[in-house]
Amino acid sequence: MEQGLTHSVAAPRLSAAARRRQLREKAVAGFITLMAFTGIAALVLIIVFVAKEALTLFTDADARHEASLSKMFLPQEGRYPFRWQPVSDTPKVSMIPLFVGTLKITLVSMLVAVPMGIFSALFVAEFAPRRLRELLKPVIELLAGIPSVVLGFFALMVLSPMVKSLFHLDRPLNGTLAGLALALAIVPVIFTVSEDALTAVPRSYREASLALGATLWETAWKVVLPAAAPGILAACVLGFGRAIGETMIVLMASGNADLVSWNLGDSARSLSATIAAEMGEVVVGSPHYSLLFFIGVELFIFTFVLNMVASTWTKKVLQRLTGSAS
């Protein structure tokens, strides 16, 4: 029956103008699709061209001798088994101090930013009166609009003396200072994503909990927060990724010494800051140059994995909540 219907309608004969219009529509659609390809192309080009410059480390015999994988990651002989001194008579290229420095600074910032971000998201999403919420949300998000170089500058000029006297540290620039300044940069990320996850929890959850006699706090803490948990975890993972890659704050506030020390008062050197500090003076094509690109590849992979994890979790929370709500 249906087939008969479609058969009985003959294809309309198109005028030349209409055919031209159809052609133009197709061209526009094709052009727009082509433009959409840019995002994918950019991501692919980034990894290809950063990796391409790093590849010399493995193909060039000279570079392989100076910066082999074992020299990068295993302890070396001598008084200091792990050193990052790529510009010296005998270059030392251990990446362990950079990993330790990055992790140390990132952990400090996460320890501060995660509770701050989640708590303020809870307040804004669950407890604040409507008008206050509409004011607080954009204001906290504005913190993300401050350039990181300004945060680094603020750490240098204002926070540094404060942190030094507060924690009785020897050095004005250290891991704690960098971590605290970094926390300022990632709090808005954690806040925004957590707040979105909390707001996505259906109202019926809250109403059911309150009707059973739970207090507002118990509802928020034991019902809404667990329901939004994957989204909040995603927020933390995103914040972690941002913290690992953040450059200017760490470069300006950490002191940049290649120490393998978990002491928070010591100065620290991060992966990103190392690229920023050394790329300016490096000889193009030298092992040191490839080494910096290699660090870039590492950073790209870390953040890529963290991003994928975070977006999977965010999707999961949305699916679960909208699925069970309907």
Binding site: M35, G39, G145, P147, V187, S272
Partner: protein, 303 residues
């Protein structure tokens, strides 16, 4: 536990969350006030319009303001068409359940998470060495002409960095345009591209402009991607050609703050520079946030 004690504990913990929220607001206020107070002292018309002199201690920062403005202008010209059209594809043209559209979304999300310093490496490896190097060879330049750090390559690097910002904002703006307007236009016989150009895009214009403002604010403040793609600490001349280097407010701040022999002496012009940079990026952000909050409220009440 009695209900009253549970309530009291709850109220105390609620207070703690309020404290966290207001602490963040307090830090923001502290940063802004500190920069505004110390920066305003050194700010003058001459500071804004004169080149630096006497080893950056005297004179102004006009070349840095000019360089930042030129850089972000070029970046906006590059990123807006691509970003807006990508969002148009995702929201208007992509067939539902399209695998390509899903890949584009994944790429955009990941692009937003790539550290800014990696964008700097990308700019150096791709734009300067690969594109610039090949351009020089093709056009027959004997010495380096395009294969060197320049304002063009720096702005293109920033354009790639801000692409996700534009795409996300534009898509949000397209979503706010009611479906009825599209169907009405199509029902009147307009083609899809006519509907797009005369109905959908004008309707989404405020949101698209918000995206542009956010991208400019982000691009103007980023320093890591331009460290080795074009920024210079001191240049006597303004950048007049696409392949010249440029001074930049953020880079200026970084070098002055970390490499001045005497930071306390330099703190006057330094604070004033930061104030100008913040005024640029932060004011733009404020505008974007206000527009966005308003459109969101309007969209929420429309549904």
């Amino acid at each position: 536990m009695k209900y009253t004690t549970r309530r009291a504990v709850g109220l105390g913990l609620t207070g703690l969350t309020a404290l966290a929220a207001f602490f963040i607001v307090g830090m923001l206020a502290l940063i802004l006030l500190d920069v505004a107070r110390n920066g305003a002292r050194h700010l003058s018309w001459a500071f804004l319009t004169q080149p630096p002199s006497d080893g950056m201690m005297a004179g102004g920062i006009f070349p840095a303001i000019f360089g930042t403005a030129a850089l972000t202008l070029l970046m906006t010209l590059a990123v807006m068409p691509v970003g807006v059209l990508t969002a148009v594809y995702l929201h208007e043209y992509a067939p539902p359940e399209s695998r390509f559209a899903r890949w584009v979304r994944v790429a955009v999300v990941n692009l937003a998470g790539v550290p800014s310093i990696v964008f700097g490496l990308f700019g150096l490896g791709f734009f300067i060495l690969f594109v610039g190097g090949n351009l020089d060879r093709l056009l027959g330049y004997e010495e380096m002409h395009w294969a060197q750090p320049s304002i063009l390559w720096a702005s293109l690097t920033l354009a790639v960095l801000t692409l996700p910002v534009v795409i996300v904002s534009t898509e949000e703006a397209l979503r706010a345009v009611p479906l009825e307007q599209r169907t009405a236009s199509l029902a009147l016989g307009a083609t899809q591209s006519q509907t797009l150009a005369r109905v959908v895009l004008p309707g989404a214009l405020p949101g698209i402009l918000t995206g542009a403002v956010l991208a400019i604010s982000r691009g103007a403040g980023e320093v890591a991607p331009i460290l080795f793609t074009g920024a210079a600490y001191f240049l006597p001349d303004l950048p007049t050609q696409l392949n010249s280097q440029f001074m930049h407010l953020g880079y200026h701040t970084y070098v002055m703050a970390t490499q001045s022999p005497n930071v306390t002496e330099a703190s006057g012009p330094l604070y004033a520079t930061v104030l100008v940079l913040l005024a640029l990026t932060f004011a733009l952000n404020l505008v974007a946030v206000i527009i966005r909050t308003r459109t969101r409220r309007k969209a929420a009440s429309a549904h």
